[in-house]
Symmetry: D4
Subunit: 256 residues, 8 copies
């Protein structure tokens, strides 16, 4: 993309359609849109495969509405995360295509035209250790689905009753990517990682008490996993895990 | 595999070739080999795609030699990490196929017969921020190569001179997976993650001083990356990053 | 249990009552019950001696009611911890056998039939350093009592007035297990551990201020106790201490 | 100033206008004003170039009004930071010159007479990585403007879309000082620091979630920046960054 | 014991065999022996069931020899932990009964007469996740054996190959106490704790690298275990785990 | 005290006024009073010089009233710290002698008869760095005054305007003990400690923001003070500092 | 620079001296030099005012020699930091212009031709709290001098004897920038910052013991300084402080 | 002192013996001596009661010798702490009065003339929990003795055998100040603090292993002590404790 733009500009200079100064000016005109409070990165969808996502934490309703309004013309899907119920209601009221997932605290506004890439290109399983980990898992699932993945959910299979998981071990092999969401001691990621050979993305959650320290226990546990090749994202960041899965699955899609 | 073994046993019971007690006993006979000081997981290569790796840290030369000896009959490649020069010499002396990478502190003993899967199935770029991050990067590269990936190295492109990286941005799109190795503030992972859409595995290194706290600064930086979907492995763990890349690339291979 | 089930299945295969595929299917049918939001581990009572406990933190009233409803048919006692007053009222209203301990934030629903094991098999003393540690101590006491232990409470005997404890030292020898609950600097555990030879389970609490850091001071103090053989559970986790005591006392019961 | 006062006192002693004891007493009479709850450092404006600033966090409305009342006679500007809306309303109601910046949580009361130094002596750019960093940036901007700097704001140019920043790189060279405000992984400071040679003051913010730990991730990232010569101030402290910029720009002013 | 001594003294006072002052003096004569650099607690064996153990870390050879010399007359066994090879040689040279376990870094000097309690009163399994955890496990085993327990060792059964453990799950039920020794992410303790109902003592080890932070990752993981009732001792403290097991097993012995 | 009681008992035994068993029983009768939820240490005033203080944090109004009621008969003063306004009102309503200091969050109930020791035995200066540190300083002052010290307050003399302090340096020499209360970077303690030779007790406060981490910055600063012989108490613990001053001043009183 | 290059290329395209593809290729040819193990940023001197500095920590002698050799042709000065004595000797032996400062652990190779900018453009004072902070201070001084600043050193003026500093306070006003180097509690930075109005760059050092935690105490102290506008660099990083001073002083130079 | 000097100067001005400028100059002439690498604070002995102490950590032999040489003319005692054996030998060789305490790592050079204050003015007990804490205790003892205190040592009375301490409780009342030195969980300080009413200075030591984290466990334990009025100094800082004791005892001396 950048390359083509650059080539066009150079060609126009060469053919003297535009002057050197005009070319200089245009070369500085990068693909983003400045709306004052934010700079919308409109080409990110093309560049890295997913749209500018609105992290709503710490943003006012007005800011959110304004940012969405500026984005909605583009053909990319729009995903708002960590959104309050109030903000979500405003969006669903204004945009017919907006779907609110209260548990995941997300609003997804699908692109009007169908996105070309990502037509169910990959199967992602989202697994949780406990019931309390579900909101984070839902955020991951919504993120994956927004990009066209097939998502299956396998909740509450923590290691305190390991047979709940081992009984499922055969079916785990049907997926392209596994997202493992766990708080407390986060041991589930290690156990799953030892069972399968496909990519495992571990999401530590802040679920726990006492010395779980808001997810640090699970985070350290996952980083130090004795099951080789598990990767980790930020505490409670279902969104990050979802994006990481999309990066992998997108790769898969490109090869097809 | 497990399923087939189970089916066979059940069939033999049905056909009364073996008794119930014999079946019970066999069902307990899982695929590992007990050599006293260690239990070699001989089937891991089939199960998760890479062999039992010998983490040599804190093991004596004798223990290492003994473990390798028990593994070498299997058809999987053997990878020894964090190996001392002394131990490495013993291995290379005894096993003709053993290759020592001093920088990466690894010894790789290729399987005698060629591994079926993993014939250059994926292209992995290993990128470092600085010269001092190279040993960790080499460990990642060796791990990937041991599994049959094509690895390219792009060293010393840290963000203090960001143009060194942006000048390469086109070529980054040729890879399936990027491994970004960085110490100090680890910003390189965020910058790379914002440029490309394929999987990015970030490896924080303990390179730095003062408040880098042995890699914590880079670790936190990478976990909190504003570039969505970057995943992180343990500090200095080139091996973990390599395995994570192999999981992805293996996935790719399966689809081909 | 597992062994018997397995034997039965194998026998049925042998006698051709069931086919191999049916056996395979049954072997995967592990003892848990999937109710969508949670997988109830109905056999845990038999396996490890206490029922699936419902940690209510972060669960909605609906989720709690649903989980209890699915459990109540089993013969195990049900223990809900960290329960809010509102949720507790709903449970006590619906289940006549439900007893609410507000201080301990627990609801206990005894099994309808009497549990066989655990008829006052052991004597557990729950000791606190201060008045503010009592809620954690009560959670430990409820947990022990739910499993049939005899519990005695000895509150507010902290080391600032060590004679309050030394005057009791004779009577401490009458117990099978001591649970020591202390916040601030947690020194009580060391002092008690130096006085007696039976198992001492230390529970650090988040009581304190300033540099107590939510219980870290007490936790570290207890882990580093110069009184040998003290074991430690998570901060504020009266429940964990209770379970640990039950594990010991249950052992005792088995030997009787 | 101190020197002159001292000289005058000594001269009066010499000329016997005052006695030794009187001189001793006066020498102890340092330039501050005791109003009971606070000691107003009335000469700080002369000494270090900016007035006593009222950090309103943890002060009552009464205390704030009392402190302002005692300051307002001096010719220095008065800056109240971290002020609540309620307190701000009281100030703007009482003092006509008081300007409230709600986003920055500041009230500025300009000196009645114009301050001599600081008439647009320097150009400061305040740059943020994201929209959520704006309040901290505004506090920095208000602080700089209160001291007579020209401030320009460049918001939401984080490294996830690095081209948004590189497109601006030429114009960055027009400033004397850059204040870079960023949360999450704080990588923006490193990238900016690698582009320019003038002073860069990095302000980590507590924006982020999970393992950002209230700004620690960004703080460590900035302290460990591989771009040489970046300096760092306290988390969320737009005020500190503003003062640091004023110190530099004041220096510049002195040379003119 | 204390009680009897007290009664005797009081009786002697009553019968006027001794005067009040003599009684006062004797009452202060507590059961320890002052050898200058240390106060040997000669009665601890009777009081809490195991002897004064010599933690050799930071003690000179001379100090160790002196302390042992003063202890050796008592009938308790003597256990020296964290002992250097040099010190150990000196002890084994001087005391025929001294046994050196180099891996565990212990020297054990059995009591000349047989200890009454502790004749194989309990069966303790010591389980490790990896080969590198063995020294800590050995320290636990030596401690248990010194007190008369039957110890079985089950090494290298970490969760990366979970079948190595599940294949053993039946035999785990034969033990009274399980000591689980694991570094890295310490997940083994949770998995074991979910399989059995007897006491599980978890020992985090400092084995690991990167973000294992010298055992903190394993420690937090174990404290936050979702398997209820696991207790934890200090990092690398096989000795503490051994003592904790002895406390439990001793309890068991008392009941027999 | 204890000694006399013991002697009396022994004499009574000798003179056969009481039997051995009665003596045994009495010897166990230690000087505290058990009121169920708490064990009041009624003799602490005699033993360590100040009464049982009621730390009200986490106690209900009922518990506080009950504890006070059981104490009020003793001749010691009663000090309730961290008390809520509601609880304080109840106490002042019921006990005429109760004085509430809202800033310090204390209620003091003087003993009805005058305490013998502590009649203005010492002069304590309580110094704060800023206005926001005053509540902690007031708690220290109330504690000292309750024990009969003369307290002087010197507030808001932080090092940002060091002349405010150096101008006072002469008068600092008039005190027996200095309590220095400071948040943020806590540098005031070092500066004061370098000026004077009498005991300096440093109290870190949680005042500050960003990387002050709730008082850790000030705590570490004070522990590492380059001014020799400064001692430190817990964060925000004006009470601890007051008690420490009373210990010193009491010592002084004893010598008079 | 970049702008000029770009303009030239565009002009050549316009004048058809070069084709579009050639232009494209040149535009990608960024100003760095790839020597395999490192990418030398040859234009950094022009861009940010100081040369590529070689951080020697973790580099082999060969790597250092190779990097220097590739840099030495450029007209920028070369600064090697954290260099070992051995490496330093090799450099001084090979390059006549190389000057080794053992205390600062630096080697400086001045540019053969004189650098245009930075002819004594600014006066920087480097102040230390103690004697042990001197190596860090020397690193800062060398860095400043390499860029043409006038540096004065004022060592061992810590706050334990505050008069040593206040006696110098007049002379502090003669400098453009103050670098304050302090370990332990780092209070010196606050005291200096309260005395002067020019930029103060604080460098925490790892000097101290116990709870100084390798410089964390000083770092937090400086970040939380109550003296407004102090900026902080990484622990022990005299180099970073020097660069920060050069950024300020260079600014000053540009205005002259 | 300062006051007198000032008065003299002012009187000389008044009597015109000296001019205003000369007075100004003298007023700046503060009582310290600049020897290049260090500024000796020669008047500290008078000001705060103890001499400039040489913390030898990180100083070369030459620096130490030079500093001692410049101090030895003054009448204050000289104390070198954390001194190596080599440096100590040099000092004892050169200065006849120098006494080396190898355990405490100190060299003390008594003043030639007797110090006036501090002739056995106070009785200090130094108590340790274990044998390994002795070096820190010795440093405290040497510091106290250097200033003329009577020091008694009571080693190895940790709480694991609490009777060793309680048997001593009467005799503790004979001291003016208690210094309690303890590592591991540091509980000894709380127990001692609950027994006595005089000042208790707690010194956490880095003795311990696992989660003692180099003394943090003991430090936190002591800061959070439930025994009121205990004060704490830096980890392992026997010197700081000694100085704190001297401050208290000196106070006592002043009153005599």
């Amino acid at each position: 993309m950048n390359k083509k733009v650059l080539k066009d500009i150079l060609s126009e200079v060469r053919s003297k359609k535009i002057g050197v100064n005009e070319a200089l000016k245009r070369l500085k005109h990068f693909p983003y849109q400045d709306i004052g409070i934010a700079r919308i990165d409109t080409h990110r969808h093309l560049r890295v495969g997913f749209p500018e996502v609105i992290f709503c934490g710490g943003k006012t309703d007005d800011q959110i509405m304004k940012i969405v309004a500026s984005m909605v013309k583009s053909k990319s899907p729009i995903l708002a995360t960590r959104i309050s119920d109030t903000s979500a209601r405003k969006l669903t009221k204004k945009y017919a295509r907006a779907r609110h997932n209260r548990l995941a605290r997300t609003v997804l506004i699908e692109a009007s035209g169908k996105a070309k890439r990502g037509e169910n290109v990959g199967r992602v399983a989202v697994i949780t250790a406990g019931t309390a980990d579900i909101p984070v898992a839902e955020e991951a699932a919504v993120t994956c689905e927004a990009m066209g993945c097939n998502v299956e959910k396998l909740f509450d299979v923590g290691v305190a009753g390991i047979h709940r998981l081992t009984s499922q071990s055969e079916s785990l092999h049907d997926f392209d990517v596994l997202i493992v969401v766990a708080g407390m001691e986060g041991a589930l990621a290690s156990v799953v990682g030892g069972m399968v050979g496909m990519p495992v993305i571990a999401v530590p959650t802040s679920i726990g008490y006492g010395a779980s320290f808001g997810g640090i226990a699970a985070l350290l546990s996952m980083l130090n996993s004795c099951s080789s090749g598990i990767t980790v994202v930020n505490i409670d960041s279902g969104f990050a895990a979802g994006c990481a899965a999309v990066r992998i699955v997108g790769l898969l899609g490109d090869k097809k």
